[in-house]
Symmetry: C2
Amino acid sequence: MSDRGGVSVATVKYYLREGLLPPGTPVTARQSEYGEEHLRRLRLVRALITVGGMTIQQARDVLAVADDPAFGRHERVGIAQYMLGPQISPPDATDPERALWDEVFAEMRGLLSEMGWRVNEEAPALAALTRAVVTLRSLGYRGSVEHIRRYAEVMHPIAAEEHTVMDEHPVLEEAIEAAVAYTMLYEPILLALRRLAHEDVSAHRYGIPPPHPPLSSS
Amino acid sequence: MSDRGGVSVATVKYYLREGLLPPGTPVTARQSEYGEEHLRRLRLVRALITVGGMTIQQARDVLAVADDPAFGRHERVGIAQYMLGPQISPPDATDPERALWDEVFAEMRGLLSEMGWRVNEEAPALAALTRAVVTLRSLGYRGSVEHIRRYAEVMHPIAAEEHTVMDEHPVLEEAIEAAVAYTMLYEPILLALRRLAHEDVSAHRYGIPPPHPPLSSS
């Protein structure tokens, strides 16, 4: 199981001890059998902890909701995204930054509502968005709502395509694993491509020739 | 100057000592006068260090290129982006991951070349992109070139728009400040909007009603 799940035997034992993996079927006193379901769960736990950076307790919380048929698919998959960092709290009520936070939070909420996005007020990403815009403004940059709207309009179609790929897994555990893996692992890809695109735009604008030797032939 | 530059007096003194700010014109034995140019430089240094997370030495390197008319605008502004983290090196030649790295690096280079992007092979963002795709693949996810291309096509127009905004500053120092501030401060905004868009897509797909109370009226 360790081989096929891509983690060490010690890690599998640790997950078993922490109750993140159900015990296998005992074959001898020292060996147990693990089936496909165990492997799927192992891959999911690895994604939550190694890729998602969750604590054991957060992973346990995700699995509890994922295993609870009282929740719908939206929550059973979405809980994993909510546990991914960064977890950002509003400043204390006495913090001088609090007034700006409240103002920006209301603006961002209003923007999402105007665009018809169905997003929970408690969404960690809404707090993360608010924090980023507060930082922008407190450094004296504009960060206008219209500007944020433009980014939202660009990100929505790509998120919809991603969601289709994540969601094509009929097994819930695989869909959760895909949601965590996609969310986390494509973030640095998006950011790196944005910087490379900046470089390209600048090179074209200032008439810089293609790099030598050409990228394609070296 | 401290007031208008948004940093403490101690920080201004520190930047002066480190040679990141030129000395002002002495008025009395204990006071100097600082003009608009000083303020612009102070704002730039603050952006490099506070927003860009650069070390003093990296900031010095950026300023040296920015102040050197032997370089064109592409390099004088672009050097700042190159100094922003993360700085990623390829694995050692003896590292078992090296073969995968080389393969992915060649694929990414080929993709950029096919798309006609003029990007330096030494671009830190190309190493960051390679690292992210290596991680994806070594965890057993596909990360196909076609998939990366789709993200590149989405990011390019938004990067072009951003570049226009950054570049509207006729004073070089302001353009560099804008490049650093834009690059860094919009990264968490992009990522938060992507996660919020995922939530919205899932809510619509699984028929979750708008949050109650409605975002717009609370």
